[in-house]
Every structure is written in C-alpha cells, then in structure tokens.
C-alpha cells in the first residue's frame, strides 16, 4: 500500500492490537494446555472472522459457477468474484483490472510466467537472473525453463547479512539477461530487497522483471506502477486470506503477447476442432472453474487489512520485530541468521544447545508455534553452512507478550539441553 492508495487514504483506523486479536478466532485456543502463541505467519497468516464468514457465505448463499449461467446465484457469484479482482487491483495499484490474473497462489503465478512468457520468449544463450535468497518456488520453475530452452540460470550472491546489494546485482546483469526473478521480501530471513532500484537497472538492460511478493504484501508497500515491475506474484493466505488463491499482476502489453498457460473452459471465446479463439485478458489465463470462494475471501482479507492504515500496521510489526531481535539475541547461545538492515517480520536463529527441530518441538509444548527447517530456501541455508533454522515470524496480531512467551520457551530449551 502506498500513501497514494485510495483505500489507505479513505479509511484509516487507529491500530489497537488487542482489538485486532479479537478478530482472529484461531488465536483464542490452547495448545498442549497453553494459550497459543502464533509466530508462523510467514508460513501462513491466521484468518480474521470476516474472511471466514465471507468464504462461508459463498457456499451458504452465492454457491454457483461464475461467468456462465443466467440465474441469480451465478450472477451474484460473478459480481462478487469480479469485485474481488478490483480489490486486488486497487491494493497493488495496478492500472487495470485486466492485469490481475487469479491463480492458486504465488507458486502458480510464477509457473504461469515461466511456462507462458518463458517458453515463448526465451532462447538458448539467454540468461534468467535470480538471487541467492530465493524461495524454491522462485528457483525451480526457472531451472525447468532453462532446461527446456537452453537458457542459463544466473544467481546474484547475497551478503552474510542476507542482503542483495546493487553492486552484486549489476555484476550479474548482462545484455543476455532477459528476465530477472527475485523476491520482494525474503521468506527465510525477512530481508527487503531494494527492488525499485534493481528493476530500474534491469529495465536499462531491457530485461523483464518478476517479483515474488509472497512475503511482502502485508509487510511493505506494494505499488506495481511505482515499482514498475513487469510481473508481481503473491498468495492470499499470507495476507490473512484463504489458502489456494493468489494472483499474478502482469503489464497488459506483456500479458497480451503471451500464449495461454492452461487450456480449458472460461479461457476461450469460441472453440471448434479447427480453431480456438482465446478469451480476452485476464480470462485467457484462467482456465477452468477458479477458486471462487477463495477469491472472494481474498477480497474480504484486503477489505480487512485496508481498514487499517498499512503504515501503522507495518510500524507495529517492526516494533515487535525489534523487540524480538533484542530479546531472542539475549538468550545465551543464540545466533541470528539474517541481519539485513530494514528487514521485516521474520527472525531466523540457531541455538548452540539444540537443533532447530528440537527447538521447534520444545517451544511447541509451551504453546509457541514457530517454523523450523530450511524454509524452502536451501541455497540460503547452504550460504550459512547450516541445514535448518528456527524462525519466528510476525503478523499484525503479534505482541511483545508473544515474544516474551517465545523467550521463556527458548530458556526451557536451554534448561533441557544446556
């Protein structure tokens, strides 16, 4: 969200985290006899009641397929589905609704670009540039594409703090670079990439840029026109929305020039055995019955998030992250992994005393949910010479009390293993 966004400007509300917590029913439960402390929002965020209700209402009331029948239920479902698309457009500040393609999530959005744009435009000798801190979903589709086309995958190294620096990026950018695919925010480390600057550099060389926004949407401003990115991929379920829904933003000019990703219903204008005429944007890329309830739920999630001033939410999360960084670092034997200045929402760490998996089990028994493992970013783990980290990650509902509970649980780990 940017300050220019009409949603943020029109309905700012004061941020009261205790009231926010009341909106999230999953927070109000005990696990292993302890109140749940949810610190795994980078894996998936919890859902506010309004999103749960919106999804339920689709099935309870507007349960029909879209873009098809003339009956009232179908009409209502279609209107709400397209309203959700408009909400996504406004949220990322795309110029047109037709530039928003619904997908299953970030992964499918990236694969759509790899299959459609990539196979149409990449040639042997071309280069695809990714960074060392990417999630597997922004590595593997490009590896597959490179194998198919003879293009080369080139990697921008990151620093030991987990940053992607302009200099390192420029060094790998060549006249052969056709596509740059990079995270907006790192899932394993929380680093925020200087994407606006890097996009401008890539464009100077004539490269197309895709941003993986899975971890960015709720933590930093996303304005696709201001960034001038060519594609932006994200998931609803990390933005307080349902699973199985996300979107690809693409510049109209690029989407128009791309062949369909999948064939099927809804993506055609007419079909004969001799010839099929494809539907217009964005439907050309939406074959089959989409996740209607998911899209409407995502719209509800955007409504919910937009009822706050995004900058106030970000400031709250950043304050909790600073508190968490100091608190976790003060536990003896803890080493933080990823210390990029300006990082957001995630704290990866190791403990001398215990393996991340053991940390995860022990803090879970204290009611604290964190992620342990390689976070689908094995090259990041390799950079640091480790197999896994423990990661606490934040949502808008987290408080410093949650961090205190985490630290208490980490001290239990020390007690048991120390």
């Amino acid at each position: 969200m940017t300050e220019a966004s009409p949603i943020a400007a029109s309905s700012p509300a004061a941020f009261d985290v205790q009231r926010v917590r009341e909106d999230f029913p999953a927070l109000h439960q005990d696990v292993h006899g302890k109140p749940l402390v949810y610190l795994d929002s980078a894996a998936t965020s919890l859902k506010p009641q309004s999103v749960i209700d919106a999804v339920a209402e689709v099935y309870a009331r507007d349960c029909a397929n879209i873009h098809r029948a003339v009956h009232l239920l179908s009409q209502r479902a279609t209107v709400r589905f397209e309203e959700a698309r408009e909400k996504v457009r406004a949220f990322v500040n795309a110029a047109k609704k037709t530039e928003v393609v619904f997908t299953r999530g970030t992964t499918e959005a990236i694969n759509l670009v790899a299959h459609s744009w990539g196979r149409a435009y990449l040639r042997e000798g071309d280069e695809v540039l990714v960074t060392e801190l990417e999630h597997h979903s922004n590595i593997v589709p490009w590896q597959i594409l490179c194998q198919q086309t003879g293009a080369t995958l080139v990697v921008v190294p990151m620093t030991d703090r987990g940053e992607i620096l302009r200099e390192a990026f420029e060094e790998q950018l060549t006249e052969r670079t056709r596509l740059v695919a990079m995270a907006h925010v790192s899932n394993a480390l929380g680093s925020v990439l200087p994407v606006a600057e890097l996009i401008a550099l890539a464009h100077e060389r004539g490269a197309v840029v895709l941003l993986d926004g899975a971890q960015a949407m709720s933590h930093v401003d996303v304005d696709v026109q201001a960034l001038d990115c060519d594609f932006y991929a994200f998931s609803g379920h990390k933005l307080y929305g349902p699973n199985g829904i996300g979107a690809l933003y693409g510049k109209e000019r690029l989407l128009e020039g791309m062949p369909p990703y999948q064939g099927g219903g809804d993506m055609i204008r007419s079909v004969t055995f001799e010839e099929t005429i494809y539907n217009e944007l964005p439907y050309k890329f939406e074959a089959g019955t989409p996740n209607i309830a998911g899209a409407i739920g995502l719209g509800a999630a955007i409504d919910y998030f937009s009822s706050f001033d995004a900058h106030v939410v970000h400031a709250h999360e950043n304050a909790v992250l600073r508190y968490a960084t100091d608190a976790v670092e003060s536990v003896p034997g803890v080493r933080l992994i990823g210390t990029a200045p300006g990082k957001v929402a995630a704290l990866s760490f190791l403990m001398d005393a215990a393996h991340p998996h053991d940390i995860g089990t022990i803090v879970d028994s204290e009611g604290v949910a964190i992620r342990t493992g390689h976070h689908c970013a094995q090259p990041v783990m390799e950079h640091f010479g480790i197999a896994a980290t423990a990661r606490a990650s934040l949502g808008m509902y987290n408080t410093t009390d949650d961090i205190d509970a985490l630290v208490t649980a980490l001290r239990k780990v020390q007690e048991l293993f120390g």
């Binding site: 393996h355 053991d358 089990t361 342990t372 783990m381 048991l416």
Partner: protein, 148 residues
C-alpha cells in the same frame, strides 16, 4: 504431554555424544539417509561378515532424536545377525507407530527410551532415519534412503 517423555536422559546423552560416530574399517556396506523435511543427514557404514554385523558406525548431523536413535541403533545391532536386526527394527517401528505401542518393550532394551516419540507424530521420521539408512545399507543398492 511431558517433554521429559520425549527427551529422556539417554536420548539427550546420545544426541550430544553419539556412540560409534566414526566410520569402521574395514566396511563393506554403506547407506546414506536424508530427511528432506529438516535436512538431517546420515552416512552409515558397516562390516557384514556372513549374516553378522561385526562393526558399524555413522557420521551425520541432525536433531537430538535422529542422532540419538542412530547412535543407540549402532550399539544395539553390533554383533547381531540379520534376522535379529530385522526383528529389532520391526519391534522398534511398532513401538513408534502403533496405537498401543510395543507389545514387548523389554525386547528392545535401551531402544525402549524412544517410546515417547509416539506422542510426537511429527518426530517419528527423526527416530527412524537411522534404521531406514541401515536397511538401505544392507540392501546396498546405493542411492539414498529418505524418510519420505
């Protein structure tokens, strides 16, 4: 759920100081194990004379459960004949995965300390990584045993 049921002293001890944490020489079988979920890795080597495991050792890294399980396994199988080893694994597996646990915990000796893992389904794969790697080594088909 009590954490002490999972992290028994024997497990903490073997996790910190795994036994047979070396490659035996000579050896004629090798298995490699990998748990893609958490990145735990084990390389197990052993000397099989006839149907007796005369020596065994492993090098690996991972959580306390996987390292302790592999460590106690090497102690348990050294000097045993293959049918005995198979029976041991079968009993161990049953203890970890069946609803009512092992019907014969005494037969498992020290390995019975892993009974608590049953209450932590997400960790069963940690406890069986070493055993799957052993199976793979005995089949010696090369490649890698995974917990998946």
């Amino acid at each position: 759920m009590d954490l002490r049921d999972l992290y028994q002293e024997v497990i903490l001890d073997h996790g910190k100081n795994p036994r047979n944490h070396r490659f035996p020489e000579p050896h004629n079988r090798e298995g490699r194990g990998y748990n893609p979920l958490c990145g735990d890795k084990i390389t197990l080597r052993l000397q099989l004379d006839g149907d007796t495991i005369t020596d065994v050792g492993f090098i690996g890294q991972g959580c306390a459960i996987s390292q302790a399980s592999c460590s106690t396994m090497t102690e348990a199988i050294k000097g045993k004949k293959l049918p005995e080893v198979e029976e041991l694994f079968s009993k161990f597996h049953t203890m970890l995965t069946s609803d009512d646990g092992s019907d014969d915990p005494d037969a498992l000796g020290k390995l019975a300390v892993f009974a608590g893992v049953r209450e932590f389904p997400m960790r069963v794969k940690c406890a069986t990584l070493g055993w799957h790697t052993l199976n793979q080594a005995l089949r010696s088909e090369g490649g890698e045993a995974t917990t998946e």
